[in-house]
């Protein structure tokens, strides 16, 4: 049962990491345009000669 001493904090830390990731993505504006984000993922990166 001593294994709990490692496992429980580890589980909490991983969960906390997930939560931080979520809060970061929220703050980063990743939920502002859910529809567009889906399309951007599959859009081709064409070379842009004008730039």
């Amino acid at each position: 049962m001593e294994v709990l001493v490692f496992l429980v904090p580890m589980a909490l830390a991983l969960g906390g990491l997930g939560l931080m990731g979520f809060l970061w993505s929220l703050k980063n504006g990743q939920y502002d345009d859910l529809e567009g984000a889906g399309w951007r993922a599959i859009a081709d990166d064409e070379p842009n000669p004008e730039r």
Partner: protein
């Protein structure tokens, strides 16, 4: 006088030498459009950011201050094939976005905590029946408390704040029993943990919070989306005024930038966007939108002009008396405020339920406690059981029952182009068994259309359309629109009251009155066949053609009427128009009951008569002169195309050129009402099942978690069915 377009009103200066503008863009619907627009705009020199938001259909642009005129972006987008217009984010929208992101943060925290606590609870539940030692159980309970306490304190804020506001105003709402339940569950669990007890309710409290927050977030994001689209709609109308910035220098500015005391120019064919009085010029004006009087009135210096007035003949200079409150943007904001108010009508309904609910539940808990004490249990056990009753009756399912259906149904209606203006509209719409249509602007499209386009050769039609672009006359505008003309001809002169003329490859072309083009004979033939039409003649060299222009029925009007009749809903027309026109429309749509030449007072009388006969009437009208009839009906609906919504009292508003949303709205409402009832029964059924368990002292945390999340899920899943309307409504 060449006007410059001045959009500086919309530009925000970000400091750091950058300017920012938001544009609403029409027709962005796919990834292709997105990259096309972003590339097209980034290619302009000095543009530092061009980003499309596909959800809101907007473009955010930033560029080096002073290097570019915002009008350039709009022209560039027009070249790419998109209509765009600057957008001024309204304050309310910013606040809602802020709230939405707060709710999402709360939801994230609650969901994270619920999952972790659940992970700790499962060993406890299984340990209670096997061989977990009490120290391990306590350890797990303390860990749960460590997670649950801060999580509840943070993510419970929306509920606690609302409950506190209600209590301070000496009212109660649904959030009061919710808050009491959550706080008690957590507090009791802490006390039990201190006393090394077997049961703690941290998991149930957190799961409840997560479910309720999810419901609230969805509800809010639906409202926000409606507001964004309605805002775009208003922005794209591009309501502008031509303002004098010098004695003879004019500039086209957005209405929002016009101040009282400014002088604006009102050209022939333009509708005034402001209230004011004429300072210079002579003209005839059409005040029909304001007074209902269709005969043109003479206007000269001193004549009062109102927003909505159509200038018919000469240019006028108008001194602005009041900056317009009647802009579409202002109207739509007001409409959405109503919708928000109306939504709180639902909350009111829930509040009324909670006024009944809270005393019953609290009395039941008290009786449980006294009962157990009388039965011989210790005070500690009796209090724990009583609190379990309070926790398990925490109105989660009840709190979700109506808002969840409302959210899904209004979302589905929104996708078909219907905006709700009042919250109980769904309930009232569901009861409708008779639909009364106004004809003009409702069954017909508000704009004029060419009816004999097929009789005219294509190239003649195109040339006439290009010539028509030079004229401000409404009939000419209809020809230009029908021909899809975009490029105006040069060197065209306009003869007031006659028409326009010019030269193409040495041949004279004319568009205007039949007498102006020497086409009286053809025109009379057309008028003999269709006395309701307006005619405009076109002459190219010696070839002459006459266009018949009239209001056309909405494309799917006949189908929509058939659907309604098939569904057992009676349909009739009440129109102020002349008899032949109404008869023609009724016959082509297969409507048997119609009345023509009806005054607004007669319309009300007819609706009252139908009401006395027990009919639930839906009045569909354009909201201008129909306002009293709309108000008199059981429920009402208006097309948003009605140029100014000033008097719109309609409960629902539909967008677009089709009538299908009207039929669809009835279908969605019927389905939604049925589901709301089902959900209330489900929530009641849950209480009937769970409360006796709790009173009997059998509501362990496991039972509470399963019963509460089960009932919430059931209610939410049932609400999702509102996504599709009742069968038979298209």
């Amino acid at each position: 006088m060449q006007a410059t377009r001045d959009f500086s009103h919309y530009v925000r200066h970000l400091g750091s030498g950058l300017s920012h503008i938001d544009l609403a863009v029409e027709g962005v619907s796919c990834a292709g459009c997105m990259s096309k627009i972003e590339r097209g705009l980034s290619a302009l020199p000095d543009v530092t950011l061009a980003r499309v938001n596909l959800t809101d259909r907007r473009v955010a642009l930033e560029w080096k201050e002073g290097s570019l005129d915002p009008a350039r972006f709009i022209d560039r987008l027009a070249e790419l094939g998109y209509k765009a217009y600057p957008f001024e984010p309204i304050r309310a929208e910013a606040i809602e976005t802020e709230q939405a992101s707060f709710l999402l943060r709360c939801l994230g925290v609650a969901a994270f905590a619920a999952m972790n606590v659940m992970m700790l609870s499962i060993p406890v539940w299984s340990g209670n029946v096997t061989d977990m030692i009490p120290e391990q159980r306590d350890f797990f309970h303390w860990l749960s408390a460590l997670i649950a306490l801060p999580a509840v304190a943070y993510s419970g804020q929306p509920f606690f704040a609302s409950a506190w506001r209600a209590l301070r105003a000496r009212r109660t709402n649904m959030d009061v029993p919710i808050s009491i339940g959550i706080v008690l569950a957590v507090a009791m669990s802490v006390v039990e943990t201190i006393h090394h007890a077997e049961h703690a309710y941290f998991d149930a409290a957190l799961m409840l919070l997560a479910f309720l927050l999810a419901g609230r977030y969805l509800d809010q994001s639906m409202r926000r989306k409606t507001r964004a689209v309605a805002g775009n709609l208003a922005a794209l109308k591009g309501e502008t005024a031509t303002k004098f910035v010098g004695t003879d220098e004019i500039s086209v500015v957005p209405i929002a930038a016009v101040q009282p005391g400014d002088i604006v120019l009102l050209r022939p064919g333009e509708r005034s966007a402001v209230d004011g009085s004429v300072t210079e010029g002579q003209s005839k004006i059409d005040q029909s939108l304001i007074t209902g009087e269709t005969l043109p009135v003479k206007a000269g210096p001193g004549t009062a002009v109102y927003a909505g007035t159509l200038n018919l003949s000469g240019a006028l200079r108008v001194r602005v008396a009041a900056a317009s409150e009647g802009t579409l943007l202002a109207e739509i904001s007001r409409l959405l405020e109503n919708a928000v108010q109306a939504r709180s009508r639902y909350v009111q309904l829930a509040d009324r339920a909670s006024r009944l609910y809270a005393p019953v539940v609290h009395a039941a808990a008290l009786l449980t406690m006294l009962g157990w004490v009388a039965y011989g249990a210790t005070w500690h056990d009796a209090i724990v059981t009583a609190i379990a009753v309070l926790i398990i009756t925490c109105p989660c399912a009840l709190g979700l029952a109506i808002p969840a259906v409302q959210t899904v149904a209004s979302g589905a209606m929104f996708r078909t182009g219907v905006l709700l203006n009042s919250g109980d509209a769904i309930e009232r719409m569901a009861a409708v068994d008779r639909v009364v249509f106004d004809k003009t602007g409702t069954l017909t499209l508000p704009e004029l259309d060419v009816t004999n386009a097929a009789d005219v050769p294509q190239e003649v039609f195109e040339l006439a359309g290009r010539l028509a672009l030079a004229s401000h006359h409404p009939v000419a505008a209809a020809v230009a629109r029908a021909a899809g003309a975009r490029t105006p001809l040069s060197g065209i002169e306009e003869l007031a009251g006659q028409g326009v003329r010019g030269f193409v490859k040495g041949q004279e072309i004319r568009l205007g009155r039949p007498s102006f083009c020497g086409a009286d004979k053809i025109a009379n033939e057309i008028l003999a066949r269709d006395p309701e039409a307006s005619v405009v003649a076109f002459r190219h060299g010696e070839t002459r053609h006459v266009f018949a222009v009239r209001q056309r029925l909405r494309r799917d009007a006949a189908d929509a009427i058939t659907l309604l009749q098939k569904a057992g809903i009676e349909v009739e027309i009440l129109s102020g128009d002349r008899e032949p026109a109404v008869r023609h429309a009724a016959q082509s749509l297969g409507i048997l009951e119609w009345r023509a030449d009806v005054t607004p007072a007669d319309k009300i009388a007819r609706i009252e008569e139908l009401k006395r006969q027990g009919a639930k009437v839906l009045m569909v009208g354009d909201g201008m002169n129909d306002a009293p009839a709309l108000a008199a009906a059981h429920v009402s609906m208006s097309p948003v195309s009605a140029t100014h919504l000033s008097q719109a009292t309609a409960d629902l508003v539909f967008l677009g050129d089709r009538l299908a949303p009207v039929v669809g709205a009835i279908g969605f409402s019927r389905k939604a009402l049925g589901l709301m009832r089902q959900n209330l029964w489900l929530a009641a059924g849950y209480n009937l099942f769970a409360v006796p368990l709790a009173i009997a002292g059998l509501a362990t945390p496991l039972v509470a978690a399963v019963a509460m999340s089960g009932s919430s899920l059931l209610v939410i899943l049932n609400a999702l069915r509102a996504h599709r309307g009742a069968r038979g409504f298209g």
